[in-house]
């Protein structure tokens, strides 16, 4: 912080003032549940006036996506400035005004691969929360082997026609548009016939069906395309070159999911003390569990430090790129271990639905962490090949 320039110090003061005046008090409360998340979109019903005002004010400043250029609805801030906005929001516990796959996934892809027209059309609507996006990647027979996808996209002269099935499309039942990986060339090698296209879901050819998980209700859906129409202008990048965009987004997603491992620092040891109690020796009464807790917490600390290091290295341009696979692998496995131990601490109280902050459902849900966004096995393959340079068969 000591190195912060005068400019930034001044910027920080401005941000602080603005937030103080514009962030409604209701939006400074911790979110009580997923219901409090603002996703936006055509059919969005705001949970409160405060939620609506907060989104509008932030969108007007471009701070829903502070680093995007202003002409695309962003704040046009530098990385350091954006960091300050996030830090100041955190200080007053401000809720994010808007969350969406548009911000996290499609936006970065469009900024990198879209043409000017596409950017101008889609990015501002994302920034203002007007359109809610879903992601159409996986298929029933293309899980880890994503490139073997079979959803077909045919040229019909003035438009494309999409037919096939996607799975694991989060919130597709509430989304307005979907970005989809499709096969546009069935003759080419499997990585070379894939395109990346945007489809408006408000048409009869697109239907969705929610997927129930072992942990209960989920945001996931199956999404079916039956001769769905897509405009030609909505094909991003070159035709048959969509795999490049897919890979970019997969790495991006992996980093996001790996980063979520930051959650591993919620210290389970404290939960254990509260739930199980200390013995006369001032040590956790359950000595065997205690061993596992100590080791998990230590791994959690080491992981957090590694996350920080990899981010710093990336910023400095000195890092190992494929380390995002290492973070994804380790972070998700660690999170599974953490939830196993939390279940151990909770004992019988964790074994009924709805109890202990939905612990059981959260525990079960973590089992997908090491599957979604590229399985742990796929990450280990990547580490072995790209970092350790071990040969293929």
């Amino acid at each position: 912080m000591s190195e912060e320039t005068e400019d930034l110090t001044h910027f920080r003061a401005t941000v602080r003032d603005w937030l103080e005046q514009n962030c409604p008090p209701e939006m400074r409360q911790p979110m009580r549940s997923v219901e409090d998340v603002c996703w936006g979109g055509r059919h969005w019903k705001f949970a409160s006036d405060a939620q609506k005002i907060w989104l509008e004010r932030m969108a007007a400043k471009g701070w829903t996506v502070p680093e995007w250029p202003q002409k695309y609805g962003g704040g046009g801030l530098s990385r350091d400035q954006a960091r300050i906005v996030r830090a100041e929001m955190k200080k007053i516990k401000a809720r994010p005004p808007l969350q969406s796959f548009g911000i996290w996934m499609l936006g970065p892809a469009l900024l990198k691969y879209g043409n000017e027209e596409q950017k101008l059309e889609h990015l501002p609507k994302i920034a203002r929360g007007e359109i809610r996006w879903a992601q159409g990647y996986s298929e029933p027979n293309a899980g880890s082997d994503l490139a073997s996808l079979m959803t077909k996209c045919e040229d019909r002269g003035d438009h494309y026609e999409v037919t096939g099935q996607k799975v694991w499309t989060s919130y597709a039942d509430q989304a307005d548009w979907i970005f989809v990986l499709v096969r546009t060339d069935f003759e080419a090698k499997k990585h070379e016939g894939i395109s990346f296209i945007l489809v408006d879901m408000d048409q009869p050819g697109v239907t969705t069906r929610p997927i129930k998980l072992i942990s209960g209700k989920s945001p996931f859906c199956e999404t079916f395309f039956d001769k769905a129409r897509a405009e030609k202008k909505n094909l991003i990048g070159e035709i048959n070159k969509g795999w490049t965009i897919a890979k970019y987004l997969l790495t991006h997603e992996r980093e996001m999911i790996g980063g979520m491992g930051s959650d591993v620092m919620r210290p389970v040891g404290d939960i254990a003390v509260q739930q199980i109690g200390l013995g006369e020796d001032k040590k956790l009464a359950d000595k065997m569990l205690r061993t596992d807790l100590a080791r998990m917490e230590i791994d959690g600390l080491a992981f957090m430090e590694t996350l920080a290091r990899v981010q710093q290295e990336a910023k400095a341009g000195t890092g190992v790129g494929a380390n995002s696979s290492m973070l994804k692998y380790y972070g998700t496995e660690l999170n599974k271990r953490r939830l196993e131990l939390m279940m151990d601490c909770a004992g019988s109280e964790g074994l009924s639905w709805g109890a202990e902050n939905d612990l059981a459902a959260n525990w079960l849900r973590t089992k997908a962490n090491s599957i979604e966004g590229g399985t742990s096995e796929v990450q280990l393959n990547i580490i072995a090949k790209r970092i350790l340079q071990l040969p293929s068969t």
Binding site: S138, G347, L351, W353, K367, A368, E372
Partner: protein
């Protein structure tokens, strides 16, 4: 000690396997869950089990049981583990029958054993008062009152709390909270005034929950075993349940592996059967080895229950600790190796991890039993 099944045991196992797979497969569990069944088991299926003699598996012949012992009971549990079949078999036929046949008065035996054997009466076991298993942590009081006792307190995580007709309950008649001395056991009909239960929506879709005792007045003949000296009987009853749960987890782990191997043999990715990937092969082979070790230690624990139940603690804890870890490994590896589809409720594999979690926690999880093992071993 023989690890081989006798002809009688082999026949029982075949019968149990056929019955569970045909009459009580996972589809039944799914349908009971979706209907919101209160008990989490099908009373007709339970009646059929009773007709086959299962409910009397540990009941002496003079009380219409078949008295085939813990190994036989374990074989049935193992098969129920494969199909995740719910029933009051563990609570009533294993623990209830052990408690009453070993420690009951003649009158208690007369009242209960034949009815346990016929399946008409279901016994529940009420032991824990906190979130973690701790059988000597008894705060529920049984105060002397006239010729009998007055019970006050609450028990948690009582399996079959809703389906049971009577509970075996531990209560403090003397001593301090965590002392073994001063614990007494009681047999309490659910219809007794002041007894109430609160069924929880358990992740394994079976019935379990809280049982409250609010000024429950009992005659002296409700006492099961000696007053103040119930801890030994309690260990015996609990060990019977633990060995049974270890057998159930063994069956569940075997079936999880079996289904996973099937899936690995079929699923194609990257142009090959995923079962041909060596890293999955090695993990499956390791899991197989762990499960084989699990089978052996479970059998040893069951044998000890038959042959020297008072000395069985070490082996029972070893078995429950081992199977708690092995079965959870199996459940976790199964989901991971199934990938996304393993996460969907539509696919049956996800039922295993839920039941195994509950089975590990019930009457002491693997941490508890590793601790008990170390204590018995003296380190």
């Amino acid at each position: 000690m023989s690890h081989l099944l006798s002809e009688e045991q082999e026949m029982l196992r075949e019968a149990a396997r056929g019955f569970c797979q045909n009459k009580a497969p996972i589809a039944q569990l799914r349908s009971l869950r979706d209907q919101g069944s209160e008990f989490g088991f099908d009373p007709d299926t339970w009646r059929e089990m009773a007709e086959m003699g299962w409910s009397g598996i540990l009941v002496p012949e003079e009380y219409d049981g078949v008295a085939m012992g813990h190994r036989a009971a374990g074989l049935i549990m193992e098969e129920m583990g494969r199909t995740l079949t719910g029933s009051p078999f563990l609570s009533s036929a294993i623990m209830g029958a052990t408690g009453i046949s070993q420690y009951g008065t003649d009158e208690q035996k007369q009242t209960y054993l034949s009815r346990i054997a016929s399946g008409e009466t279901i016994i529940g076991v009420a032991v824990d008062e906190g979130r973690k298993h701790a059988p000597t942590h008894v705060e529920l009081t049984a105060a002397r009152s006239g010729n009998g006792f007055l019970l006050n307190g609450q028990k948690q995580f009582v399996a079959d709390c809703a389906s049971a007709d009577a509970y075996i309950v531990s209560a403090r008649t003397a001593g301090k909270e965590d002392e073994a001395k001063g614990i007494s056991l009681f047999l309490v009909p659910k219809t007794q005034n002041g007894v109430s239960h609160d069924n929880r929506p358990m992740i394994d879709s079976r019935n379990a929950g809280t049982v409250s005792f609010d000024n429950v007045a009992l005659d002296a003949d409700a006492l099961l075993g000696e007053v103040d000296e119930g801890a030994g009987a309690w260990s015996h009853i609990l060990d019977a349940g633990r060995a049974g749960l270890a057998a159930e987890m063994s069956g569940a782990a075997q079936e999880s592996l079996h289904r996973t191997i099937d899936y690995l043999q079929q699923r194609q990715q990257f142009g090959r059967t995923i079962g041909s990937f060596q890293s999955l092969q090695h993990r499956a082979a390791h899991l197989y080895s762990e499960i084989e070790l699990g089978k052996s230690i479970v059998w040893r624990a069951l044998s000890m229950m038959d042959e020297a139940p008072q000395m069985a603690g070490l082996m029972v804890s070893a078995a429950k600790a081992k199977l708690g870890q092995v079965a959870q490994l199996a459940a976790q590896e199964s989901i991971q190796m199934h990938g996304g589809i393993g996460m969907t409720d539509e696919f049956d594999i996800g039922f295993f991890i839920k039941r195994i979690r509950v089975a590990d926690a019930l009457y002491g999880d693997h941490h508890f039993h590793a601790e008990r093992y170390a204590q018995i071993r003296g380190f």
